[in-house]
């Protein structure tokens, strides 16, 4: 009897609705409906306040022919590339950290600190670091003998790479934390067995530890790529996409179109393309990194 009552109580539809609907309603109204509307607004000529005028696929066709959009997409993909390559460095650091290093716990927490700061604070701090005359970086470069270090954020040819540095700085600790946790989960017995068989530390790292955490590595690749494609905050605050579009990324270009040029229709079309590109790339990265058999411990 007890079980019957239990099943009845635990499948009460009213209670289920009461508990799940507030949350569902919030994500429905504030996340999913806006996403759909973005695609719809993309079909409109609209300044954000006045009446909308249906113009079919014109905005989307314009976007595909818009060199500025493709430049910003290229910059976003470059960031994705650098973020993914930097994972190799983070993985190496994590392998060192996880190899019985004293103070590893403290170190990984120190590495994480930049991730706790707001993008605005990071941006303002790095504007100062990159300051051409009094910044930390150029003072250091001059001190070690460079004569004319660049004005990092004002130079169209270097600005994009300059702003990658604080972005990588911000997230390094995050990836190291993830890898470290995964490496610590590897059973000690596997490593010991390999040692008895005469494997060197490098062999253990590459042939035993790496394959065992491949699942986590794939997740981080997806996170790095997708996170880069939609990246916005720091770039918007540090350079506003400038000088002259040299550091523009997809999200900052979209934001400017809508909220600076009041071109809400075209901005929405770019926003929708950003969503589609992100989803497609997520699927591709997942497929590309998928393996048939998952490794068993």
């Amino acid at each position: 009897m007890g079980l019957n009552v239990m099943n009845k109580v635990m499948s009460n539809k009213w209670i289920i609705a009461l508990y799940v609907l507030p949350a569902l309603l919030l994500i429905g109204v504030l996340i999913f409906i806006p996403l759909i509307l973005t695609g719809y607004y993309g079909l409109m000529e609209w300044d954000g306040i006045g009446a909308m005028e249906y113009i079919g696929l014109e905005n989307y066709i314009n976007a595909i022919q818009d060199a500025k959009f493709w430049d910003s997409a290229l910059h976003s993909f470059l960031l994705a590339l650098f973020s993914t390559l930097s994972l190799i460095v983070y993985l190496a650091i994590s392998l060192i950290l996880a190899s019985k290093i004293k103070g590893a716990d403290l170190l990984r927490k120190i590495y994480l600190i930049p991730m706790l700061l707001s993008s605005v604070a990071i941006a303002q701090l790095w504007i100062k670091v990159f300051n051409p005359t009094n910044g930390m970086l150029n003072s250091f470069l001059v001190a070690i003998g460079f004569e004319n270090p660049p004005a990092w954020l004002a130079e169209p040819s270097v600005v994009l790479y300059a702003i990658f540095i604080p972005i990588l700085w911000q997230y390094a600790g995050f990836y190291i934390l993830i890898y470290y946790a995964a490496l610590k989960n590897i059973p000690e017995s596997l490593v010991e067995a390999a040692k008895i068989d005469g494997a060197t530390p490098l062999q253990i790292a590459l042939k035993i530890k790496m394959p065992l955490i491949m699942g986590v590595i794939k997740v981080t690749v997806v996170l790095a790529v997708v996170g880069s494609l939609k990246y916005f905050d720091l770039i918007y605050v540090m350079t506003g996409g400038g000088p002259n579009g040299a550091s523009e990324v997809m999200a900052s270009y979209m934001y400017k179109l809508a909220f600076s040029s009041n071109d809400f229709g075209y901005g929405s079309a770019i926003g929708f393309l950003l969503l589609i590109i992100t989803l497609i790339v997520t699927v591709i990265v997942r497929k590309a990194t998928a393996t048939k058999e998952e490794i068993q411990y």
Binding site: V20, L30, K109, P201
Partner: protein, 273 residues
């Protein structure tokens, strides 16, 4: 591995630590200097005297109000998020209904979407219901956008709760509400505190929603507020440094005291991507 090998490994780790931490130390140092010292002295030198007046100046100059806005908006959004996420996670993991998997899937999809793709319609929705330049638009947006991540952190814990707790409660004639609020919710305190910390970091640092939905100075939070504020003090590095330190201090203090919770929350939020 020999001594030299270990020395080399430690050196690598130390270089990374310096790279990660030194810009923040440098910021703290110039927040205590005046312009003359910053522009003529070495950027790596300690301040000749600690000019705490930089902090007093920016606090009275308007940072205090932004600070208070950040506190109450962050706080209310945290309460709403953790409560609604706990309720939804409870019925998804513990109660029996056909659509539970689908609904869970919807929340998890919410983890992946780029917020910028939603921001234009959100802006026009809030404009239509007169919530533009109203801090409540920020509160409900934070709540909605943090629900998926919060639920993801809660899920694992809810799945492991033993069935016997609910059985015993129901056989004793306890209602589901009582069971949830008096028994289940208190049991999840450890994981709830993790979600509180993670939500605190996200809300405190959030920029683009406030920047888009709020125009009055009196409603701005710290992230957007300091952005304007720094405009005013463009050339006064000491004041800018003090402003930035004040804005990051609450999160750094939370990290100092609850670093394990932060680490736990950040790693569990990434497990599934």
């Amino acid at each position: 591995m020999g001594r030299i090998g270990y020395f080399f490994l430690y050196l690598c780790l130390a270089i990374v630590a310096v790279f990660q931490i030194f810009p923040i130390i440098w910021l703290f140092m110039f927040s205590l200097k005046d312009n003359q010292e910053i522009f003529s002295g070495s950027p790596f030198a300690l301040p000749s005297e600690f000019r705490w007046e930089n902090y007093a100046k920016v606090w009275e100059g308007g940072i205090g109000l932004y600070f208070w806005n950040s506190i109450w908006i962050t706080g209310i959004a945290i309460i709403l998020t953790v409560l609604l996420a706990s309720m939804a996670t409870f019925v998804i993991t513990r109660m029996q209904w056909k659509l539970s998997k689908l609904v869970l899937g919807l929340f998890m999809v919410g983890l992946m979407i780029p917020i910028h793709s939603a921001i234009i319609p959100l802006f026009s929705m809030f404009l239509n219901v007169n919530l533009i330049d109203n801090p409540w638009s920020i509160v409900i947006t934070y709540t909605a956008y943090n629900l998926p991540i919060t639920m993801m952190i809660l899920l694992g814990f809810y799945y492991t709760l033993p069935r016997e707790i609910e059985e015993a409660a129901i056989i004793d004639g306890c209602s589901v509400h009582r069971m949830f609020f008096r028994i289940i919710l208190p049991m999840t305190t450890p994981v709830m505190s993790t979600t509180v910390i993670i939500n605190m970091i996200y809300n405190w640092n959030e920029f683009v929603f406030v920047n888009t939905f709020i125009s009055s100075d009196k409603f701005k939070t710290l992230t957007v507020g300091i952005q304007n504020f720094i405009g005013q003090y463009m050339t006064d590095w000491g004041a800018i440094g003090a402003t930035l330190i004040i804005s990051v201090l609450p999160i750094l203090l939370a990290f100092l005291f609850f670093s394990n919770k932060v680490v736990e929350g950040i790693s569990s939020s990434a497990v599934k991507g």
